[in-house]
């Protein structure tokens, strides 16, 4: 067989096989390490569904309602390497890379997942950020940003609780040598965190920050820089803890008050903001993600006499801002009877618009919104106690080769 034909076959392999087969012989190694194969491989996988991993974390209250104990970060994945030998069980990912994280400080207080960009996971431990590739088990520490004058009034805890972090890269492809960037949105005053219900006290608009500075860390320069963002006519007012900063198509997006705000990751300009569906109030936990390339938001409402209803909207037209109600699902159905007709929203399936991931009594399920069936179950093996799911579920997409973290 000619090299051309062999290459045609090899580009169709999953990335773990490509990397493994470099060990076959020198000739295969040179074929499988060539720039040509890599570019063909990326192109071949560009429009295909890629394996993904849903990352989450549980916490538990200790006896007598004592301090919260955080479980190690868990995940469910359909990536062949990550899900190997843990079929339908959650993976204890940090335990997997324990060797590297093994110091007493981290062991006593597990770190938490914050956000994701492609296959990179941003984790946080009291203001210290780590970027992890769960597949290659590589990680790097993001040095803490320098303390500014305006931060001195804030306690480290309030910065940790109220500021919001995201991870992104300048280009579509994080592997082009530019590496990744971490963004910190400033802490928002607690009294401004919730959008005001109608007819109650209205906060004067001048209190909202319409210009603010974001802090950006670049893995290439290993430096933090502060960039002022002109935010008029919007104001940074309610990037709530349960909706993550998403990096999608070169922009950073988050739920900001009554709108979906987009920040151009390249020049840090507010490029766009779209009103959210009226029924989506940020006072209640809501889902925010991307499904089939479109933004998707969801929330559970309670309505007599129907009981709980799940509402899911897709953003059909990003530029004009048309939300389309894709699903209205009554939870009062047979499959959910033994769970008292309730679940907790976690994440949207990135490719199948009928599927969402939900949490029910310490387990993760795939719920089919069209058929009302709980399709797969991932057992989480939690110890006895009062468990709560922490409000951040980054979704990793394993497209092409795993992202290499700079040394």
């Amino acid at each position: 067989m000619t090299d051309d034909l062999l290459t045609e076959i090899l580009v169709r392999l999953p990335s773990e096989s490509v990397c493994r087969f470099r060990l076959v012989c020198k000739h295969w190694r040179s074929l499988l390490s060539s720039d040509y194969l890599e570019s063909r491989f990326i192109k071949h996988n560009d429009n295909r569904e890629c394996p993904f991993t849903l990352v989450f974390q549980y916490s538990v209250y200790g006896p007598s309602g004592g301090p919260k104990f955080l479980y190690p970060i868990g995940a469910i994945s359909n990536h062949p390497v990550l899900s190997k030998s843990v079929r339908n069980r959650a993976i204890n990912l940090i335990q997997n890379i324990k060797r590297d994280f093994d110091n007493s400080f981290l062991k006593s207080e597990p770190i938490s997942p914050v956000a994701s960009c492609h296959d990179l996971l941003l984790c946080c431990h009291f203001g210290t950020y780590y970027v992890v590739n769960l597949l290659t088990r590589c990680w790097i520490l993001v040095p803490p940003p320098p303390i500014r004058n305006q931060d001195r009034e804030l306690t480290p805890l309030s910065i940790f609780l109220n500021s919001k972090a995201g991870i992104f890269c300048d280009q579509k492809d994080v592997n082009n040598g530019d590496g990744f960037k971490v963004i910190l949105l400033p802490a928002v005053r607690e009294d401004l965190m919730f959008d005001t219900p109608p007819n109650s006290i209205v906060i004067p608009p001048e209190i909202y920050a319409s210009q603010f500075s974001v802090r950006i860390f670049s893995s290439k320069s290993r430096q933090w820089v502060d960039i002022d963002v002109d935010w008029y006519p919007l104001s940074l007012n309610a990037h709530l803890f349960f909706a993550p900063i998403l990096f999608h198509e070169g922009m950073l997006h988050w739920l900001n008050g009554r709108s979906l705000a987009s920040l151009d990751a390249h020049n840090m300009n507010l490029t766009h903001s779209i009103d959210l569906p009226n029924e989506l109030s940020l006072q209640f936990p809501c889902g925010f993600g991307v499904c089939q390339g479109k933004f998707r938001v969801a929330r559970l409402i309670y309505k007599e006499p129907d009981g709980r209803v799940l509402l899911v909207w897709d953003l059909e037209d990003y530029h004009k801002g048309g939300w389309h109600l894709a699903h209205r699902v009554f939870l009062h159905q047979p499959s959910l009877k033994k769970y008292n007709y309730v679940f907790r929203l976690m994440a949207f399936h990135p490719y199948n618009s009928d599927i969402i991931f939900v949490e029910i009594s310490n387990g993760v399920f795939q719920f089919n919104m069209r058929t009302g069936i709980l399709e797969s179950y991932y057992h989480l093996k939690l110890e006895k106690g009062d468990h709560t799911l922490q409000p951040s579920y980054p979704l990793l997409l394993h497209r092409g080769f795993p992202t290499v973290l700079p040394p």
Partner: protein, 164 residues
């Protein structure tokens, strides 16, 4: 492409490398860009004779298989490519063969420029080898390990995640 109505061929004869002749109707032959090009060229010249296309790289065993594929796909030529029945047939078709046959079929598909068969074979081979060990790959492709133990250790180390 352009041809006068008087010089339209309905059939061609294809000769395998071991000198067997196959009569193929035009619609079936058109699944192969190589055969189609030959037919188009002849039609442009206005030949009315039945043309003979020698394929010096394809044995009759393999040519039979390529033509079986082309015949099936010619039947579905007007349907969309996502036809489930056809996909099922493709899978059943390739399932029967060993690696040697699949390799020959891939090379024939490449030589005869039958793009859909080439894609199909490549994906089928990729799917069937993806979970194999390095040792199994060497066996199937008849490859000798030419690494030193140190080189092997280095490669394993560089690609550690893929060996888990």
């Amino acid at each position: 492409m352009a041809s006068s109505s008087s010089s339209s061929l309905s059939r061609v004869v294809v000769k395998s490398s071991d000198n067997n002749l196959f009569v193929v109707n035009k619609k079936v032959a058109s699944q192969s860009q190589l055969l189609k090009q030959c037919i188009d060229n002849m039609e442009e010249k206005g030949t009315n004779d039945v043309i003979l296309i020698p394929l010096s790289n394809v044995t009759s065993n393999i040519l039979t298989l390529v033509l079986e594929y082309c015949e099936k796909h010619a039947d579905f030529a007007d349907d969309d490519n996502n036809n489930q029945e056809l996909k099922q047939w493709d899978h059943e078709f390739l399932k029967k063969f060993d690696y040697a046959t699949l390799n020959s079929l891939t090379m024939a598909a490449d030589y005869m420029v039958t793009k859909s068969l080439l894609n199909l074979c490549c994906q089928f081979i990729a799917d069937s080898i993806k979970d194999l060990t390095v040792q199994q790959i060497r066996q199937i492709f008849d490859i000798k390990n030419d690494f030193t133990p140190q080189e092997e250790a280095d490669i394993k180390n560089e690609n550690a995640w893929a060996f888990r």
